[in-house]
C-alpha cells in the first residue's frame, strides 16, 4: 500500500483538476466543504473556465473583468446564460456536449457580447443602484445576493420559450 493521499493536502493538484471542470461541476464542488468552497471561489479558476477555448484571450481583459466584478460573476451572469441560449439557438447536430461547448462557446463575437452585457450589468448594479433586479434575479443563480443579476440583464435569467 502506498501512503495515503488526501487531495485536501495537495491543493495544487486539486486546482489543476478543478481547472478542467465545467461550470456546473465547479458549482457542485463549491458545496463539498469549506476548503473546496474557498478554492472554487478563486477567480482564476473561473477565468480559465471562461477563456479556456479561446486562444489567445483578448489582451487587457483581465483588468477590465476584475474591475467589473470578476470572472466568477462574469460566468454566472453572462457566460453561462449566453452559452445555454446560443446552444439552443444553433442547430444541434450529433456532437457530444463537449464538442458543442467547444464549437458554440466562444467566438470573438460571443466574447464581445458577453463582456458588453457584463459592463452594462456593472453600470446598472453599482452605479444606477441595481434597478431592483438584484433580489428578483438572484435566486436562479443560487450564489446568493452577490450573483443576482440586474434588471437590464433579467432577460438572461428568464426561462427561454423553446
Amino acid at each position: 500500500m502506498g501512503s495515503n493521499f488526501f487531495i485536501n493536502d495537495n491543493q495544487d493538484v486539486l486546482i489543476e483538476i478543478l481547472k478542467r471542470l465545467d461550470g456546473r461541476s465547479l458549482g457542485v464542488c463549491a458545496c463539498v466543504c469549506k476548503l473546496w468552497c474557498g478554492i472554487t471561489r478563486n477567480d482564476s479558476l473561473w477565468e480559465h473556465l471562461c477563456f479556456r477555448h479561446v486562444s489567445p484571450p483578448p489582451e487587457g481583459v483581465r483588468t477590465v473583468v476584475v474591475a467589473l466584478g470578476g470572472y466568477r460573476r462574469l460566468y454566472m451572469v453572462c457566460v453561462r446564460p449566453v452559452l445555454n441560449r446560443l446552444r439552443k439557438w444553433r442547430p444541434i447536430g450529433m456532437e457530444t456536449d463537449a464538442e458543442i461547448v467547444r464549437r458554440v462557446y466562444w467566438t470573438r463575437h460571443e466574447v464581445e457580447l458577453s463582456l458588453s452585457l457584463f459592463c452594462v450589468d456593472y453600470y446598472e448594479r453599482v452605479l444606477l443602484g441595481g434597478g431592483g433586479g438584484a433580489a428578483g434575479g438572484g435566486g436562479r443563480h443560487g450564489g446568493g445576493g452577490d450573483t443576482g443579476c440586474t434588471s437590464s440583464l433579467m432577460f438572461l435569467c428568464k426561462a427561454v420559450n423553446v
Binding site: 483578448p58 489582451e59 487587457g60 481583459v61 483588468t63 477590465v64 474591475a67 467589473l68 446564460p81 449566453v82 441560449r85 446560443l86 439557438w89 463575437h109 460571443e110 464581445e112 457580447l113 463582456l115 458588453s116 452585457l117 457584463f118 459592463c119 452594462v120 456593472y122 453600470y123 446598472e124 452605479l127 444606477l128 434597478g131 431592483g132 433586479g133 428578483g136 434575479g137 434588471s151 437590464s152 433579467m154 432577460f155 438572461l156 428568464k158 426561462a159 427561454v160 420559450n161 423553446v162
Partner: protein, 596 residues
Amino acid sequence: MKRDRDREKGSSSKGKNWASVEEEEQPDAGMDELLAVLGYKVKSSDMAEVAQKLEQLEMAMGTSMEDGISHLSTDTVHKNPSDLSGWVQSMLSELNSTSISSNFGMSSSENQLIVSGDGGGGSCSSIIDFSRGNEEKKTTTAISDDDLRAIPGGAVFSSGRNRNEVDEESNKRQRSSFCSSGGSNSSSGGNSLTDSARPVVLVDSQETGVRLVHTLMACAEAVQQENFNLADALVRHIGVLAVSQSGAMRKVATYFAEALARRIYKIHPQDSIESSYNDVLQMHFYETCPYLKFAHFTANQAILEAFTNCNKVHVVDFSLKQGMQWPALMQALALRPGGPPAFRLTGIGPPQPDNTDTLQQVGWKLAQLADTIGVEFEFRGFVANSLADLDASMLDIRPSETEAVAVNSVFELHRLLARQGAIEKVLDSIRQMNPKIVTLVEQEANHNAGVFIDRFNEALHYYSTMFDSLESSSSSHNGITQSPVTNQDLLMSEIYLGRQICNVVAYEGSDRVERHESLGQWRARLSSAGFDPVHLGSNAFKQASMLLALFAGGDGYRVDENDGCLMLGWHTRPLIATSAWQIAAEDDGAGEVELH
C-alpha cells in the same frame, strides 16, 4: 392585431365543446372535414355561400349588441348544430322579414350561435363579425348610443380591397401567432380550420378582435370627418369590446381608445411630461424588450468601427437619458487592440422640472465606470429644450485632426419634425461638427402623414405589433412564476408605449412630437442634407442576431439588413431601424466607407 394564445385556446376549447357533443358523428363524404371536427356539416361546395350568409346574419345581430343581447347567450339553445347552412338560412329569412332595428327582433327561443370561450376570465364570445356587404354606405343621421348601424360602411370592409387586406392581415396574424405559439398546445384543429377557411372567411373566435379593429377604424374615420357625436358613441363601444379581449389586443385597444377619446373631447392634460418619469419608463422598456438594446449595440458597433485608429474620440449624444448606451462602448474601447482612446462624451437632455442636474449625475456615473475600466473620460452636459436650440459652436468641437467626432441620435430626431425648419437646422449643425459618423436609430413607421386616418391606421398596426412582441417576450410558457419586477417592467413599458400612442393620435401641431418616419424617408432627408450612407457591417449584424437570440421569445424577433441599415422587427414587421451616415464627399473621390 393578432389572435393571441388565449383566444387560440378559446377556439380550441370551443372545438372541444362541439366535438364532444357531436363526437358520434363522422365526417361524411362531401362535407367539409374540418368543420365536421367542430360538429358542423357543411358541404365544401356550399362553404362560400354559408360564409356570406353568416356575414349578413352577424351584422344584423351585431347592431343591437348593446341592447341586452346577452340574454341570448344564456337562454338560447342551438337546436341542430350540424346543419349550419339550413340554420343560417332560416335566421336570415327571419331577419330579412323584419327591418333591422335596435330592438333586436329575435326572441330568446331562436337558435343562436354563441359559444363562449374558456370559462375563466373574460368572456370571449365568438360572434362572427363581417361586413354588411350588401348594404349601402350609410350616412349618419340621428345617433344614439345603441344605434350602431352608424358604423360607416366605408370603414368596415367597404371595398374588396379592404376586406382582403384585413383578411390577409388576420391570416398573417394567425400564421404568425401559429409560429410563435410553438410551445403552447393550441389545438391544431382550430388552426388548420382557419387555414382551410382562409380564402373565404374567418370562422373562428377571432371575430371579436376583428370587430374591435373595425370599430377603432370607424371611430378614427368619424374623427377624421369631424363627426364627433358618432365618434363618441364608437369610442364607448370600443371600451365594451376591448374588455372582452385579452392580452395584447386589449391593451392596444384600450390605449387607442383613450387617445381617441382625448382627441374627441380635446382633453390635453397639461402635459409637463416629466422627463425623469419618462426616463424611468424608458428604463423599463429597455429591460423588457430588445429594441433599445439593439439600437445601442448596433450604433455602438458603427461608432466603434469608425473610431479605429483614432486616439481621441468625442461622442455627441442627442438624448443622454440614463446613459445606458455608453458603458458597452467604453468597454469595447477599453479592450480594443492598442488600448483605449481618450473618450469624451457630450450629453444633451431636456430641462428637469425640479432643477436637478441629471445630466451631470449620469456623467459622473459614467466617469466612475470609465475610471474602473481604465478609459480616459471627459463629460459635458447640455440642457436644451430642443436640439434646434444648439449649434455646433456651443459643443466645443475640437479640430478633426486631433479628435474624431461621432453623433448619436436614438429616437430623438423625429421630434424636430414638429417645428418648421428645425430638422434642417439640426442637420446643418451636425454637418458643422464634421463628424466621422452619424448614427441614427428611429422607429420604422410613418406616423407623420398629414391625413389623420392614415396616421391612425399605421399607428394601430405598428403598436399592435409592438405590444404583441412585449406580450410574448415576457409571458412564460412553462409555468415558472414571474417575479413581480417583470410584471412591473411590462406594465411600465406599456405605459411608455401608451404615451407615444396618445401623442400620435391625440395631439396636433407642435405638441405632436412623436412624428416617426420610415427609413426611406430618413434616407431621403439625410441625403438631401448632404450625408452619405455608411453600411453597417457584418459584425453589427452578427452581434444583433446574437443579442436577439438571447431574448426569450427570441423566435419572433428578426434582424434584417436593408441596404446597409439594420432593422429589428417582430415577425414580418420591421419596427426600428439603425442607420449610419457620414458627410457626403465634396469631390468625386472618397466614396463610401465600407465597415467590415
